[in-house]
Amino acid sequence: MDFLGEGLRRAVALLVSGDGEVYGIALLTLRIGLIATVLACGLGIPVGFVLATRPFWGRRAALTVVNTALAFPTVVVGLLLYGVLSRRGPLGGLEWLYTWQAIVVGDVLLAFPIAAALAAAAVQGVDPRIRRTAETLGAGRWRTAWTVAREARFALAAVITTAFGHVVAEIGSAMTVGGNIRGQTRTLTTAVALYTSQGDFGLALALGVILLLLALLVNVALQALQGRGHA
């Protein structure tokens, strides 16, 4: 138990002292997490809307694909992306392998199905009369979608929170395509794995605490954006 207590004390000391390396890793994680969440939700939520509201041929199959993609192992996504971004791969010319951009791409690939599937479920959960009411009052496609989104705002906020949580907690893809390079692609999760394997439990724990604080911060921010929850 001593090493746990010692680890926690070290964690607090590192956080309070404003350790450059710790905060550098945290900021990079936050940047990657925010960019990937914005991109994944920006693409996934509209796709979820379409899946939930537009009848088209193959809709059921598309929903199945999206739902299956939810369970995609992160390391497999990382592996496939590695093949695509490596020098001999189709996107090797971008030279993104072992950069933070590669981690963003991997995270977007992982979070996109989450955003699409959960957004589809959120929209399907809205009373269909809301959509019909907006339409019969003359709203066009976008205004109707906005009206439905307002009704599903809590569920859609949960979509964003879940996507962000998945992105910042992901390690398999970040390790494979990012390479865990100090000062460049080392994120909170890859750093925790590294420092734990090196026996630096205090540093690993400090980074874990920051990871939790980041998730808490995003949740609080989203709740504040939702307002007081008037009907």
Binding site: D127, R129, I130, R132, T133, A134, E135, T136, L137, G138, A139, G140, R141, R143, T147, R150, E151, H230, A231
Partner: protein, 338 residues
């Protein structure tokens, strides 16, 4: 003119609506009467362009605006037709914001929006509700707000699905009065679905009956869902069970069907008549209503409730009074089966 042509609509493979032609003329008042599940709400949703018919088309002023082969109707034709559903919902926000919604999507100036909202709220006696939110309203209040919200956008056609189902008598009267005032003020066509014949007759110019997704060829009274026996008891004459009574009808159909007895084909007397009528039922008058000038609707309990129409003079001569004895007679060939 809003028109439904050759529409056959299915849910999960089952035909729920099968209508050759249905018209809502400009400025007209049409009531659709029928039991629950008869297809009234589906018909209104098709007319409101909220659903595309599986077969057939919807035309607005002669132009196809929705159809099996046409793309989904855009906002432009939908802005001329507004539907108030049987159990309407209010959008997020206050009652005022709900009334403003349709006006804002039309890009109307703020001052004009405020004026129109307050005008319609006054007419429907909901001005006090304007600052309230949906969870602070009763079902009846939500219904009145929904009608006000639809009237605020001044559509050419207003479709109402059981608009007074949650309203008390006073609220229903306020609502019908507001509709009458609106129709007097401008050419507004109203198409209302109801299961209450009296309300329908009170204000509609044309009352149409819907049963099992089909428009009845006769008036909406005396419609019964029946099971026609397979074997005829004599030619095409069949004795069909309707509740505790048997109605004789001439038809070659078998199986499930709708049986209709036109009220004008029923002879009303105090004593049984010696006649060729195969159907003679003794009962008691339950209601006498004057739904059209010069005509009296006589409702009698003869085992089931039947309605006959007689002239005011005939009703007076027969001395019909609620609770008094009455005999209804009609020929088997007068019974319509569809």
């Amino acid at each position: 003119m809003l028109e439904l042509l050759g529409v056959r609509h299915r849910y999960d493979g089952r035909v729920v609506l099968d209508i050759a032609r249905f018209v809502v003329a400009p400025g007209s008042g049409v009531a659709i009467v029928g039991p629950n599940g008869s297809g009234k709400s589906t018909l209104l949703r098709l007319l409101a362009l909220l659903e595309r018919p599986g077969e057939g088309e919807v035309r607005l002023d002669g132009v196809v605006v929705a159809g099996a082969k046409a793309p989904r109707a855009g906002a432009s034709p939908r802005r001329r037709i507004t539907l108030v559903e049987q159990r309407p919902v209010l959008l997020r926000g206050t009652v005022r914001e709900n009334l403003e919604f349709g006006l804002r999507v039309r890009g109307i100036r703020r001052a004009e929006v405020t004026r129109k909202v307050e005008d319609v709220a006054t007419r429907l006696a909901i001005a006090a509700l304007l600052p309230r939110r949906r969870h602070e309203l009763s079902d009846g209040e939500v219904q009145r707000v929904a009608v006000a919200r639809a009237l605020a956008v001044e559509p050419d056609v207003l479709l109402l699905d059981e608009p007074a189902s949650s309203a008390d008598r006073a609220a229903a009267q306020t609502l019908y009065r507001a509709l009458a005032e609106e129709r007097a003020r401008r050419p507004l066509a109203v198409c209302l679905a109801s299961h209450q014949l009296e309300d329908a007759y009170r204000w509609a110019d044309d009352v149409r009956a819907l049963a099992e997704g089909k428009l009845s060829p006769v008036t909406p009274e005396n419609l019964f869902r029946v099971e026609l026996p397979a074997g005829a008891s004599g030619g095409d004459l069949k004795h069909v069970c309707v509740g505790p009574i048997e109605i004789a009808a001439t038809t070659d159909k078998t199986g499930p069907a709708i049986l209709a007895v036109p009220p004008t084909d029923i002879f009303v007397s105090r004593e049984p008549l010696t006649s060729s009528a195969r159907n003679v039922f003794l009962g008691r008058v339950t209601r006498l209503t004057h739904q059209r000038p010069g005509a009296v609707h006589v409702t009698a309990d003869v085992g089931v409730e039947l309605v006959a129409v007689v002239t005011e003079e005939a009703a007076r001569d027969l001395g019909l009074t609620p609770g008094g004895p009455v005999v209804f007679s009609f020929k088997a060939s007068a019974v319509r089966v569809f």
